[in-house]
C-alpha cells in the first residue's frame, strides 16, 4: 500500500510536469509567437530543470529520504504553479515591452518562469527511488518502476492537457488546476505518514 502511494506521487508529478509545460508554452505564444524557437526554448528549459533536479534530488536522497522531505520538496512547485497567474502574466508583459529576439527572449523568460518548479519536481524521483529501494538487490527494478510510472504520468498529463484542458479552461485557470492536482500529493504524503506511524506503533 505504501508503495502504491509512492508510485502515485511519481505519476502525479510526471502529470504536472507536462501539463505545466504545455500550458506554460501557451502563455508565451502571445509574446513570441508559435514559432519553433519557442517550443525549443521551453522544452530545453524543462529538461534543464529536470536534469538539475535529478542530480540534486539524488544527493538529497542519500542524506535524508523520508516522507517529510518528499512533502517539502513537492510544496515548492505546488505553490509556484498555483500562484502562477499572479506573477506569470505581469512578467510576460514586462518581456513584451523589452522586445528581445524571440530565441533569446523565450529562452530567458521560460528559464525564469519554469526552471524552479522543474528542479523540484525532478528531485522527487530519486527520493522516491531511495524510499522504495530498501533491498539492495532490487534497486534496479525500483528505479525502473519509478521512471516508468512517472513517464506514464507525463503521457497522461500531456494528452489530458492538450486534448481536453485547453478547450475547457482558460490557460491560467488550467495552470492552477495542474497545481491543485500536484497538491493532491500532499494528501498522499499524509496518508503514507499515518500508515507508517501505525505500523511503527504495532
Amino acid at each position: 500500500m505504501s508503495k502504491l502511494i509512492l508510485y502515485s506521487i511519481a505519476f502525479i508529478t510526471g502529470f504536472a510536469i507536462m501539463g505545466y509545460e504545455i500550458l506554460g508554452a501557451r502563455t508565451l505564444f502571445p509574446i513570441y509567437g508559435n514559432s519553433i524557437y519557442v517550443w525549443g526554448a521551453i522544452i530545453s528549459v524543462f529538461l534543464a530543470g529536470l536534469s538539475i533536479g535529478y542530480a540534486a534530488g539524488g544527493r538529497l536522497a542519500d542524506r535524508q529520504s523520508d516522507i517529510l522531505t518528499l512533502s517539502r520538496i513537492i510544496l515548492i512547485p505546488t505553490i509556484l504553479i498555483v500562484l502562477f497567474p499572479y506573477y506569470g502574466p505581469s512578467l510576460c508583459k514586462r518581456f513584451e515591452v523589452l522586445s528581445l529576439d524571440p530565441r533569446l527572449g523565450s529562452l530567458l523568460i521560460s528559464a525564469i518562469l519554469f526552471i524552479m518548479p522543474c528542479v523540484f519536481m525532478g528531485s522527487v524521483i530519486p527520493v522516491i527511488v531511495k524510499m522504495l529501494a530498501t533491498d539492495n538487490s532490487r534497486i534496479g527494478s525500483a528505479a525502473g518502476n519509478v521512471y516508468s510510472i512517472s513517464t506514464a504520468g507525463s503521457i497522461a498529463g500531456t494528452l489530458f492537457t492538450s486534448f481536453f484542458l485547453i478547450s475547457w479552461l482558460p490557460v491560467h485557470k488550467g495552470i492552477q488546476l495542474t497545481g491543485l492536482i500536484l497538491a493532491s500529493c500532499w494528501f498522499l504524503c499524509l496518508t503514507y505518514h499515518q500508515m507508517n506511524k501505525k505500523q511503527d506503533g504495532a
Partner: protein, 317 residues
C-alpha cells in the same frame, strides 16, 4: 545468446521493411481511390517539393497551367498564380482583398502583410503603387524563396521581409501602416495568438490614422470559430465589415480604425479606382457580398470573444 540477439534484430528489421513497403502500397491504393472520387484531385504536375521548418510545401501546376502553393498534400492552395497572366488575381481571397482599394482614403505609404503565401497580393500592391513600402512577416523562411522562384514575387529595396511569428512582429512594431493584411491561417493550423482580442488591439495600435485592416478567415467548416473570430475583431474594430467570397469559402474582414465603411461610397470609389488603374476586378460585385449588420449580429450571438488566456481554436467546431 549473441546469435539470439542478432536473430531478433534481423527479424525486427525485416518486419519494419515489410511494413514500410506495405504502407507505401496502401498510399498508392488510397491515392487512386481519392483521384477517382475527388474532382479536385486532377493530375497535377509537381514542380517543386520541400519539407520546410513548418510545412511540406509543394508547387503544383494544374491543367490550366496555374501554379498552386500547397502546404501538406491534398489540402487547399495557399496561393494561385498564372504565369501566362502574371498580374491576374486568381484565387477568390486575393480578389476580395482588393476591396482595400476603395476603402482607403489616400494611396498607401506603408503596408504590412502578416503571412506571405505565394506573394500574389504584395505583387499586386507593388504593381499599382510603385512607391509603397511593403513590410512582410512570414514564419517560414523558405516561403519567400519559393514565392520568388515559382510565383513571380519580386523583392525590391522597398520590400522588407521579416522571418518570424506575426504576433511577435506586431508586439514589437513601432511603424504605422496604412493597410495591414492578415492572412496567416492554414487549413490545418490556426495560430491562436493571431486570433485574439489582444492581437487585434496590437493591430489597431499599428494602424496609421485612416488605416485599414483586413483579415482572411478561411471557412474550414468551423462556424463557431468564424463567429468568434468576427466577434473578436468587432470588439476591437466596431465598424467591422464582412465580405463573403463565392461558395462561402472565405470570410474577408475589413475595417478602418474608427470610421465606418459605407457600402455605396465603397462602390463609387471602386468604379473610380478601377477606371483609374485600368483594372478589371469587378470590385463592386465583391462589395455586394457584404454581410448585413443584422446577420452579423445574429451570427455572433452567444459565441465567446477569443482572448490570449482562452482561445481553444483547435477544438472549436
Amino acid at each position: 545468446m549473441k546469435t539470439n540477439f542478432f536473430a531478433v534484430l534481423l527479424l525486427t528489421f525485416s518486419f519494419l521493411f515489410a511494413f514500410s513497403s506495405l504502407a507505401e502500397e496502401k498510399a498508392g491504393f488510397w491515392e487512386s481511390i481519392g483521384n477517382f472520387f475527388l474532382p479536385h484531385a486532377e493530375k497535377r504536375n509537381v514542380l517543386f517539393e520541400k519539407q520546410t521548418q513548418y510545412f511540406l510545401v509543394t508547387v503544383e501546376e494544374d491543367h490550366n497551367g496555374f501554379r498552386h502553393m500547397v502546404f501538406n498534400p491534398n489540402k487547399g492552395s495557399q496561393g494561385i498564380w498564372n504565369p501566362k497572366m502574371p498580374d491576374e488575381l486568381i484565387s477568390n481571397y486575393c480578389r476580395f482583398t482588393t476591396i482595400f482599394l476603395p476603402a482607403m482614403k489616400n494611396p498607401p505609404k506603408r503596408v504590412l502583410f502578416i503571412g506571405l503565401g505565394a506573394g500574389v497580393v504584395p505583387r499586386f500592391v507593388r504593381k499599382n503603387f510603385p512607391d509603397t513600402v511593403i513590410d512582410i512577416v512570414e514564419i517560414d523562411g523558405d516561403i519567400p524563396v519559393i514565392a520568388e522562384n515559382y510565383f513571380g514575387f519580386k523583392k525590391d529595396d522597398k520590400i522588407n521581409i521579416t522571418i518570424g511569428d506575426g504576433r511577435n512582429f506586431i508586439n514589437r512594431n513601432k511603424e504605422k501602416y496604412d493597410v495591414i493584411f492578415i492572412d496567416a491561417y492554414t487549413s490545418e493550423c490556426i495560430p491562436f495568438q493571431l486570433t485574439t482580442e489582444e492581437f487585434y488591439l496590437k493591430v489597431r495600435d499599428s494602424l496609421a490614422p485612416d488605416g485599414i485592416m483586413t483579415a482572411n478567415v478561411a471557412n474550414l467548416g468551423k462556424p463557431t470559430f468564424i463567429a468568434s473570430e468576427i466577434k473578436t475583431a468587432r470588439a476591437v474594430f466596431p465598424p467591422l465589415a464582412v465580405f463573403i467570397t463565392g461558395n462561402r469559402s472565405n470570410y474577408i474582414l475589413f475595417s478602418a480604425a474608427d470610421r465606418k465603411l459605407n457600402t455605396a461610397e465603397l462602390k463609387e470609389n471602386a468604379s473610380r479606382i478601377e477606371a483609374e488603374k485600368n483594372l478589371s476586378l469587378k470590385i463592386g460585385d465583391m462589395i455586394d457580398t457584404r454581410m448585413p449588420e443584422d446577420d452579423i449580429k445574429k451570427m455572433i450571438e452567444g459565441v465567446e470573444i477569443l482572448k490570449d488566456d482562452f482561445a481553444p481554436v483547435e477544438t472549436m467546431k
